[in-house]
């Protein structure tokens, strides 16, 4: 009976993602007893490992949300999100200008950035949904060109924004103890969740992702739905790009969001979502994103440099996908069966 219960729990979609996260956190706790300690620094801002992890994972969470929908609807990944972040950041900074005062109001810069990001997403969506090009291939185009375009926009320079309030988005608002990116990330997740749950979009995306032909025949506009998910993914990348730019109050087209597309895909996979499309869990992806950041932070804490970090990430990824792989599970089950048979023989 008890065993059955345990089995039931392990079958729960989010079981393994949560276990992963807990393992990483436990490891940290053992390594750094003060891990969960949160205090307030002299500026009246919360700080501590946990806050840092969540803060730093904000962009990744936002990207992962967009990526999850792309993966679900089209069984493909959008590898251009990092480049789109750079483009969005470049647009924002070039609208605002690097003078003592903004060339245009702050929100115009952000709106412009988001608009361009949505356009990037729409371009990807057009290639994937309308021209039916494999997603990875279609987004490869923007992946290759994106940073070039960003550099074109900035004229190849690193643009610094000198106005103080530009930093708010990437750090903290005055008198608010929690870093702003956390609010943005939570906002994006909640809004996306509501959008999915209060409309039929959730069901539509899964349906299209599982069988787009059948979905069309039962009245869904598969093309439009896939297109929308890519556009949404672009929007998410734009938001992430603006935050990332604000964090360093400058745009460095070569480095903003570098390799983040890879982290975002990882987050989706770590969250227990199949990269083959169809059923998905937004919460899983969010947990995945936090897990990745927690892992990075703890490795930094252990003295691993940023350059070396990918080695550990790679090992973790391979472990996780291996454990998830049906072939591996088959192998394990086979071994189990063998053991049971052996015991059976002994008893006999």
């Amino acid at each position: 009976m008890n065993r059955k219960k345990i089995k039931h729990i392990t079958k729960y979609r989010l079981f393994w993602p949560i276990v992963c996260l807990i393992l990483v956190l436990l490891f940290n706790l053992i390594k750094t007893p003060t891990f969960f300690k949160v205090s307030i620094n002299s500026n009246g801002v919360l700080y501590g490992y946990i806050i840092d992890i969540i803060n730093r994972s904000s962009e990744l969470i936002i990207l992962a949300v967009g990526m999850t929908l792309c993966v679900a609807s089209s069984a493909g990944t959008d590898i251009s999100v990092g480049a789109t972040m750079a483009v969005a950041g470049a647009v924002c900074c070039s609208i605002l200008g690097s003078g003592e005062a903004y060339n245009a109001p702050y929100f115009v810069g952000i709106l412009g950035a988001l608009l361009v990001a949505v356009l990037c997403g729409a371009w990807n969506g057009f290639l994937v949904a309308k021209l039916k090009i494999q997603p990875m291939v279609a987004t490869l185009i923007l992946f290759t060109a994106g940073r070039g375009i960003a550099q074109l926009i900035t004229g190849g320079n690193i643009l610094y924004i000198k106005v103080d309030n530009f930093k708010y988005l990437g750090s903290t608002l005055p008198h608010v103890p929690v870093p702003t990116p956390i609010f943005v990330a939570i906002g994006v997740v909640i809004l996306t969740y509501l959008l999915l749950k209060k409309t039929a979009l959730n069901m539509y995306i899964q349906s299209v992702g599982i069988n787009s032909k059948a979905s069309r025949l039962l009245g869904l506009n598969s093309t439009l739905i896939i297109f929308l998910t890519y556009m949404f993914c672009g929007l998410c990348a734009g938001i992430a790009g603006v935050i990332a730019t604000s964090r360093i109050y400058s745009i460095d087209a070569n480095n903003v969001g570098l390799n983040l597309e890879l982290d975002a895909i990882l987050a989706v996979a770590l969250g227990g979502n199949s990269l083959g499309g169809g059923k998905f869990s937004l919460a899983g992806s969010v947990i995945g994103a936090i897990t990745i950041q927690a892992l990075s932070t703890s490795l930094y804490a252990m003295g691993v440099s940023a350059d070396q970090l990918p080695v550990y990430k790679a090992v973790v990824v391979i472990l996780i996908v291996t454990l998830q792989s049906p072939e591996f599970k088959k192998f394990v089950n086979h071994q189990k069966q063998k053991r049971v048979e052996k015991i059976g023989e002994k008893v006999a």
Partner: protein, 510 residues
């Protein structure tokens, strides 16, 4: 029986269990050289399991398999091993590589070599000879994808025969071929038969069995019913043996709604005028009245499904227009047709019907949801009530409404799809091969349902390859040939002979 000399394959007392199901139980099968042997049975009879066991895709639990009349037991653990034992299979979906040339497809893995490199010249010559010997004349250097499914299938047969000529299994080879292609295939089969190959022929089509086969082995519920000489087994008996019950049940639904026929002159629900889609269906006129079941008959590839798809807007019409109750429709996508009360159950259930990973509930509710629109989510409670109601009405056998549809049997999946459309409360329901590949019981249920729906005022378009089934259900029949509507038959003209004549192009109905 054991004394027979020319036995190329004998299977004795084969048992195979799947979790919870006995798939094969004490099945015997014997194949002699130079015979075409039909393997018949309804869905779930164990045909495909037997083939899988034979070709090494599945392992059997107990039993004996021998080839060539030898005493040694043969065990195949993979298709490759089976091939070594002289057993080759050609499947319904052509299992070749479309990107490679015809010659390569025949010789891949065993290419003729010269000086340690592939001898392309020799390979092409050999391939040409092999195909010529089967009366197939094509350019073997072109990529396979340039040829029709029929040719591809024959290339697959050529490959199989070239590897081992003893036992050839043809698993539903004719289901995607047209009449002339089937002729050609039969020609090849007869040729191989003359050469002494034993052919196992799996098919649903009775006519074909009686045309080419020498013997029939019938399975039912995983058990052997018997082996018969074709000449000694009339069709009716074959059907009875396959079904294990008499025909009465099927006959009883013979149009209880014939009274509707008198109302033929009532309102035209659907009126297609000059509707056409380049390349698939030539412009046609077709009217469907209220409470009428109209059948579409014709050979595969004659444009039946295509006609339905144009009316439904799944293929956008490029000529003519559709009127519904006198109102002209603009159909850009299926949703437009749904909004005016059409529904469409597609032919290919797996690829165009079910959303495999979603639950029964979601599969049922989706069409209604699509009709209502993205922002008008049907609330959970209503979804559940609707689903439960239709599970009940249609007698869907499922563990729960949240079970993924892929876990259901074919017949139950079909019922879920039907439920999906009935939920939208359509005025015009298109059913494209709704009974294909499902068990006889469910088949009858669906036929009864169609008749009942029509008697309640729904207009139904019924497409089926089985003329008998159509005769039992339709009031009127449109005949199609080569992408063209060639005529209509009404009530009193509906008979097997008339239909056959019309399909074959007798000319009277034109």
């Amino acid at each position: 029986m054991e004394k027979e000399k020319n036995i190329v394959l004998s299977m004795r007392h084969i048992y195979k269990n799947f979790p919870g199901v006995v798939a094969l139980s004490d099945v015997d099968f014997t194949l002699r050289s130079g015979e075409i042997h039909a393997l018949m049975g309804e869905n779930g009879a164990g045909k495909s399991t037997l083939i899988k066991v034979l070709t090494g895709v599945e392992e059997f639990e107990t039993g004996e398999v021998r080839t060539d009349g030898k005493a040694d037991l043969v065990i195949s653990r993979s298709p490759q091993e089976a091939q070594k034992h002289g057993i080759s299979t050609v499947y319904q979906e052509v299992n070749l590589c479309p990107n490679l040339s015809v010659a390569e497809n025949i010789f891949i893995g065993r290419e003729p070599m010269k000086f340690g490199r592939i001898n392309w010249k020799a390979m092409n010559v050999k391939a040409k000879e092999l195909l010529d010997s089967l009366n197939i004349e094509i350019d073997v250097t072109r990529a396979l994808e340039n040829y029709s499914v029929a040719i591809q299938q024959m290339v697959a047969i050529a490959r199989a025969v070239d590897i081992s000529a003893k036992v050839l299994i043809l698993d539903e080879p004719t289901s995607s071929l047209d009449e002339s292609e089937i002729r050609k295939l039969f020609g090849v089969m007869k040729k191989l038969k003359e050469r002494g190959t034993g052919i196992v022929f799996v098919t649903h089509f009775l006519e074909q069995v009686y045309e080419v086969c020498d013997r029939i082995t019938v399975l039912r519920n995983g058990r052997l019913v018997g082996e018969y000489e074709v000449d000694n087994l009339p069709r009716v008996q074959l059907v009875a043996k396959m079904m294990g019950k008499e025909f009465d049940d099927l006959a009883s639904i013979k149009k209880s709604c014939s009274n509707q026929a008198e109302n033929v002159e009532t309102e035209k629900v659907i009126d297609a005028r000059g509707l056409g889609h380049t390349g698939t269906i030539k412009p046609f006129d077709l009217a469907v009245h209220k409470g009428e079941v109209i059948g579409l008959s014709g050979l595969l590839g004659s444009g039946r499904s295509e006609l339905a798809k144009v009316i439904y807007g799944a293929d956008k019409a490029d000529a003519g227009s559709v009127y519904m109750k006198g109102k002209k429709l603009v159909l850009k996508a299926p949703i437009d047709a749904m909004k005016v009360g059409m529904a469409f159950c597609p032919e290919n259930r797996k690829e165009e019907g079910i959303i495999a990973d979603l639950s029964v509930r979601e599969n049922m509710i989706l069409a209604l949801q699509a009709k209502r629109g993205m922002f008008h989510l049907i609330n959970k409670k209503e979804q559940e009530e609707l689903t439960d109601r239709y599970i009940d009405i249609l007698q869907v056998k499922t563990a729960s409404r949240e079970t993924p549809i892929k876990q259901l049997s074919g017949g139950n999946q079909q019922k879920v799809i039907l439920g999906r459309w009935l939920m939208t409360n359509p005025e015009f329901l298109i059913l494209d091969e709704p009974t294909r590949g499902i068990d006889v019981g469910t088949k009858t249920e669906i036929q009864k349902l169609v008749v009942k729906l029509a008697s309640e005022g729904m207009s139904v378009m019924f497409i089926s390859s089985e003329i008998e089934e159509m005769l039992r259900t339709v009031n009127r029949m449109a005949i199609l040939r080569d992408g063209r509507k060639v005529g209509e038959l009404v009530e009193e003209e509906l008979s097997q002979d008339n239909i056959m004549n019309a399909i074959a192009g007798g000319g009277e109905v034109e």
